[in-house]
C-alpha cells in the first residue's frame, strides 16, 4: 500500500529548487571572476559540471539506484559549480577533473550520497587538489586590469588543455605584471612578503592592492556577497552562518591587526579577498555538513571565521576557507548536540 500520511499540503519549494536557486545566485560572482580573470572560469565550470554529471551517473548506477532521480536534485551540479569557482581560472583541465571526481565519488557517494556526507564535497575536492598539486592550485592570473598581457580566448583554451598556447607561452608568462614581477593573489602576496621580511605597510603599496583594498578581488567578493544576500532574502539559507562567519573574521583580524598592525593584514583585506564571501554564503552554509540548530549555526560560522584568520595570519597556506570548513564539519554533530533548543514548556521547569 502506498504510504499516505498527513499533512496533505506541502509548501512549494523542493530540494532541487533550492539547489537551482543557490546555483543561480553564484552568477554575479562567476561574472566578476570572468571579468577580472578571463575565460578560465567558464572552462572550469564546464569541465566540473560535465565530470560531476558523468561521475554521479556512474557511481549511482554502481550503487543500484536510479541515476535519473538522483541527478535531478541538482546537488552534484552545485558541488561542481562551487568547486569550479574556487579553482584558479587557468589551472589545467585535469585539476578540475580530479577534484570533481573526488568530490562526487569519494566525498559524497561513498558516504551514502546526498544528505549523508559529513564533509562538504566541494571543499574536500578542493583540499585534495591543494595538497596534491600546490603549484597548479596557487597559480592565479593577475586581474586583467593590471596584467602585462592577458591571454585571449584561444590562448586560454590552449593553456587550459595543454599548458601552453600557440606562441609557446606557459601560464607563468601571463602571471607577470606590468613591471615584470610575478603576481599572485593578494593573500599569497601577503604570505610570501611576510616571509621575506616585509611589513604590512610596505606590502599594501604593491600594485595588487590598488587604491581600494585588492584589485579585482574586492569586486569578486562583493559579487558573491550580492548573490549571498539574494539567497538570504529568498530564504534559501539562514543568516546565522554568514553573519557569524563574517563577524568572526572581522573581529579576529581587527584584534590581530590592532595587536601588531605591521604583521597582520587589516580586517577589510580579510573580508574582501580570497574566498571569504564565497565561503560565507555558499560553502559554509551547505546544510548537509553544517550544524542544524540556529544557535549551533552561529557557533559554527564564528569558529570557521576564527580559524580562517588564524590560518591566513599564522598558518602555512594563504587562504583557509576549505580547511576551516572541513574542520568545523567534524565538529558539527557535537555542536548540534549541545545546542538543542529548549522544548516547549521546559523553561518553567526549575
Amino acid at each position: 500500500m502506498m504510504l499516505s500520511s498527513s499533512p496533505y499540503k506541502k509548501s512549494s519549494h523542493s530540494v532541487s529548487q533550492l539547489m537551482q536557486l543557490v546555483i543561480f545566485a553564484t552568477i554575479p560572482g562567476a561574472i566578476a571572476l570572468f571579468y577580472f580573470f578571463g575565460w578560465g572560469v567558464w572552462f572550469n565550470l564546464i569541465v566540473c559540471c560535465s565530470v560531476a554529471y558523468a561521475s554521479e551517473w556512474l557511481i549511482v548506477k554502481l550503487r543500484n539506484r536510479d541515476p535519473k532521480k538522483v541527478l535531478s536534485d541538482y546537488s552534484a551540479l552545485l558541488t561542481a559549480v562551487l568547486l569550479a569557482l574556487a579553482l584558479p581560472p587557468l589551472a589545467p583541465w585535469w585539476v578540475a577533473t580530479i577534484g570533481t571526481l573526488f568530490a562526487i565519488v569519494f566525498a559524497k557517494h561513498l558516504y551514502g550520497g546526498l544528505g549523508y556526507n559529513p564533509f562538504n564535497p566541494a571543499m574536500t575536492g578542493y583540499v585534495l587538489l591543494l595538497i596534491s598539486f600546490p603549484m597548479a592550485m596557487t597559480t592565479w592570473l593577475p586581474p586583467q586590469s593590471i596584467a602585462a598581457q592577458a591571454p585571449d580566448f584561444i590562448s586560454s583554451l590552449q593553456l587550459f588543455f595543454s599548458g601552453s598556447d600557440s606562441q609557446g607561452n606557459t601560464l607563468n608568462y601571463y602571471t607577470l605584471n606590468a613591471d615584470g614581477f610575478t603576481m599572485a593573489t593578494p593573500l599569497d602576496e601577503i604570505k610570501t612578503s611576510f616571509s621575506m621580511g616585509y611589513v604590512f605597510d610596505e606590502i599594501k603599496n604593491k600594485p595588487i592592492f590598488g587604491d581600494w583594498q585588492n584589485v579585482g578581488w574586492q569586486w569578486v567578493n562583493l559579487a558573491f556577497l550580492a548573490g549571498g544576500l539574494f539567497l538570504i532574502v529568498k530564504k534559501a539559507i539562514s543568516w546565522h552562518i554568514p553573519v557569524s562567519f563574517l563577524a568572526a573574521i572581522y573581529i579576529t583580524s581587527f584584534l590581530a591587526h590592532g595587536y601588531d598592525p605591521q604583521l597582520n593584514p587589516a580586517p577589510m583585506i580579510h573580508l574582501l579577498s580570497g574566498a571569504t564571501m564565497l565561503g560565507a554564503f555558499f560553502i559554509a552554509t551547505d546544510p548537509v555538513s553544517a550544524t542544524t540548530t540556529n544557535k549551533g549555526r552561529i557557533i559554527f560560522g564564528a569558529a570557521i571565521g576564527f580559524i580562517v584568520v588564524m590560518i591566513r595570519n599564522y598558518g602555512g597556506y594563504p587562504d583557509a576557507i576549505a580547511f576551516a570548513v572541513l574542520i568545523m564539519n567534524m565538529a558539527a554533530p557535537l555542536i548540534d548536540h549541545y545546542t538543542q533548543p529548549k522544548v516547549y514548556g521546559s523553561q518553567e521547569l526549575k
Partner: protein, 523 residues
C-alpha cells in the same frame, strides 16, 4: 456598537509561539452559507469507540427498537463515554463494520435502520443551570456522552472536573479548509455566549477568554455583539494572528497568556482549562435541552464537492450517503480526507461513518492535495526546526526514528511532538516526517508494554522458582521431621517390641500346644 466597547471586549494578543506556518486557507470554500441540517440517513452505523478511552458496551440487542437520543452503549471505565441513538429505528446489527480510520479497519458498531418518525428520548432539561450543583451538571454531561469535538474526543466531564481561574474557548480553528466552528459562531453567537458562561460557571473560573484567529472577522463581530447584548463582563475575545497551529492547545495558551504549559503537566497547572466551541455548544444543549450528543456540525468541502458548506449531521451517518446527498458523483474517484489537510487522514472506504470527532470532510479533486511522492534524503536544512511549534529538532527525531534509536528520540523529546505536520509541510525533501514520529511513538509505547509484561513474567517466574525452592525446603523439613519422629518412635518401639515378642512367643506356644493336641487326637 461603539469602538470603545469593541476594544474592551475584543483585543489582539501581543504574544507569539515558536514556529508555525501559513498554508493556504481555503476557508471561503465552505464558510459563506449558514449551517444546514442533513436528514437522518436510511441507516446509521455508530462505532462504540468514538472517544479516547475504552470502547463502550452495547446496552441494546439486535431487533430492539430505539428512539433518537436513547442510550445504546454504556461507558466502560472512567475515560469512556456513552453512545446514543442518533436516529429512531431498529437495531439491525451489532457487528464489526468499517470505521473511519486511516487503515480502513473494522470495529464494533451498532447499526440502526432508521424509521421516519419524530420520536425522541431526551433527558429532562435543567432549567436553572447556574444554581444547579456542579456534580449534577457533570453527571448530565457524562450522561449525554459528550467528548471534545475539536478532534481529541476526550470525555468532557473529566476535563471539567477541576476548578480553575480561567476558561479558554478554543475558537482558533487554524487548520485550512475547516470552518465548522467559524460557522457555528456566526449562526449561534448568542447561544454560544450562554454556553461559554455555563462552562465558566461549571469550572468556577473568574473569566472566559475566547481565542480566535483574525481570519474570522464575521464570527468575531457576531460574538462581540452577542457579548455586548448579554451584558456579561466575564467573557473577552482574544484575537490571535492567523498562523498554523495556533489552535493547538499549548500554542493557543501561549498566544493568550504568554505562558507555556510546563512539560509533562496539564493546563490546570497554569489555572486554565480549554474547551472547543462545538463542545461548549453540545454541553449547552445537553444541559438546557437534555439533548445527548447525537449530531454535530461538520464542514464538507473540497473542490470535488459542489455543494460545499457546513452541515449538522447525525453521528453514524455513512460518508457515502453524505456524498450522494451533496451531489458528489459516486463513479468519480475523489480522495476523501477526514479532518483537516494538516492532521486529518485519508478515508480508504466511504462506507465509514461520521463520528463525534469528525469536524471536516474534504472531497479533494486529484490535484488539490499533495499525494505522497518519493521522498528525497534529508539535507538537514533545518527548516522543520524553524517551524516546529514545540521547538523540537524534527530532523534529528527523523534520523532516530528511521534508525530505530528510540531512546535517543525520547531524549530529544519525541513525546512533546503534537503531530501538527508543520515540519512535513515545509520539508523540501518531502519526507513524511509525522509518519515517522507516529511510528516511533507507537514502537516506544509497545516496547514499554512488552518490557512491563516481560518484567511481570520474570517476576512470576522468579516467584515460582522461589515457591518451588520453598516447597522443596518445606518438604525436606517435613521429611526430616517425619524421620525424626520415626526415629523417636523407633526408639520408643524398643520397649514395645519386647512386649510384642513376648506375645508372639505366647501365641506360638499356644499354637504348638493346639497342634500337639490335634495330632494326639488324630493318631
Amino acid at each position: 456598537m461603539s469602538p470603545d466597547n469593541q476594544n474592551t471586549i475584543a483585543y489582539t494578543t501581543t504574544y507569539k509561539f515558536h514556529g508555525g506556518i501559513h498554508p493556504e486557507e481555503h476557508k471561503t470554500l465552505s464558510n459563506q452559507t449558514p449551517i444546514i441540517d442533513l436528514p437522518a440517513p436510511p441507516i446509521v452505523v455508530l462505532p462504540l469507540n468514538q472517544h479516547s478511552g475504552a470502547q463502550s458496551l452495547p446496552c441494546v440487542a439486535v431487533g430492539d427498537s430505539v428512539v433518537t437520543g436513547q442510550k445504546i452503549a454504556e461507558a466502560k471505565g472512567n475515560r469512556s463515554a456513552h453512545v446514543h441513538a442518533s436516529a429512531s429505528g431498529t437495531v439491525v446489527a451489532i457487528e464489526n463494520r468499517v470505521i473511519a480510520h486511516p487503515s480502513g479497519q473494522s470495529d464494533l458498531c451498532i447499526v440502526i435502520e432508521t424509521q421516519d418518525n419524530n420520536k425522541q428520548h431526551f433527558l429532562p432539561p435543567i432549567n436553572n443551570p447556574f444554581t444547579t450543583s456542579k456534580q449534577s451538571l457533570l453527571d448530565r454531561i457524562f450522561e449525554s456522552g459528550i467528548v471534545g469535538l475539536g478532534g481529541a474526543a476526550f470525555p468532557s466531564h473529566i476535563k471539567l472536573m477541576p476548578d480553575v481561574d480561567r476558561l479558554i474557548i478554543n475558537a482558533a480553528e487554524c487548520e485550512p479548509y475547516i470552518t465548522c466552528d467559524d460557522r457555528l459562531m456566526q449562526d449561534e453567537a448568542p447561544q454560544l455566549i450562554q454556553a461559554f458562561e455555563l462552562l465558566r460557571h461549571i469550572v468556577s473560573a473568574k473569566e472566559c477568554i475566547i481565542g480566535i484567529e483574525d481570519n474570522k472577522p464575521e464570527a468575531i463581530a457576531q460574538l462581540t455583539s452577542a457579548i455586548e447584548t448579554s451584558g456579561l463582563t466575564t467573557i473577552n475575545i482574544c484575537i490571535v494572528p492567523t498562523k498554523y497551529p495556533s489552535g493547538g492547545e499549548k500554542q493557543l495558551i501561549e498566544l493568550i497568556t504568554g505562558q507555556q504549559v510546563p512539560k509533562g503537566q496539564l493546563t490546570t497547572s497554569l489555572g486554565l482549562v480549554m474547551h472547543n466551541v462545538a463542545t461548549a455548544f453540545a454541553i449547552f444543549e445537553a444541559v438546557t435541552l437534555g439533548k445527548p450528543l447525537i449530531d454535530r456540525v461538520t464542514t464538507v468541502t473540497g473542490l470535488g464537492c459542489e455543494r460545499r458548506g457546513n452541515y449538522r449531521i447525525r453521528l453514524g451517518t455513512p460518508l457515502q450517503w453524505i456524498l450522494e446527498q451533496l451531489g458528489v458523483p459516486a463513479e468519480q474517484k475523489f480522495t476523501t480526507i477526514m479532518g483537516g489537510p494538516m492532521m486529518g487522514f485519508k478515508v480508504p472506504n466511504t462506507a465509514a461513518s461520521v463520528v463525534k470527532s469528525t469536524n471536516c470532510l474534504i472531497v479533494a479533486e486529484p490535484d488539490e492535495l499533495n499525494e505522497p511522492s518519493t521522498a528525497l534524503p534529508c539535507i538537514r536544512c533545518g527548516e522543520c526546526a524553524d517551524v516546529c511549534p514545540a521547538n523540537l529538532l524534527p530532523q534529528q527525531l527523523y534520523w532516530f526514528a528511521r534508525s530505530d534509536e528510540f531512546e535517543k528520540a525520547e531524549n530529544y523529546n519525541l513525546f512533546d511532538c503534537i503531530e501538527c505536520g508543520a515540519c512535513a509541510y515545509v520539508c523540501p525533501s518531502e519526507i513524511p516526517l509525522v509518519h515517522y514520529y507516529r511510528y516511533a511513538k507507537n514502537e516506544i509505547v509497545l516496547r514499554a508494554k512488552e518490557k512491563q509484561q516481560a518484567a511481570k513474567a520474570r517476576e512470576r517466574f522468579e516467584f515460582r522458582e522461589f515457591r518451588l525452592k520453598r516447597e522443596k525446603a518445606e518438604r525436606a523439613e517435613k521429611h526430616r521431621k517425619a524421620a525424626e519422629a520415626r526415629k523417636k518412635a523407633a526408639e520408643a518401639k524398643g520397649q514395645t517390641n519386647e512386649k510384642k515378642a513376648t506375645i508372639a512367643e505366647a501365641v506360638a506356644r499356644a499354637k504348638a500346644r493346639k497342634q500337639k493336641k490335634q495330632d494326639d487326637q488324630s493318631s
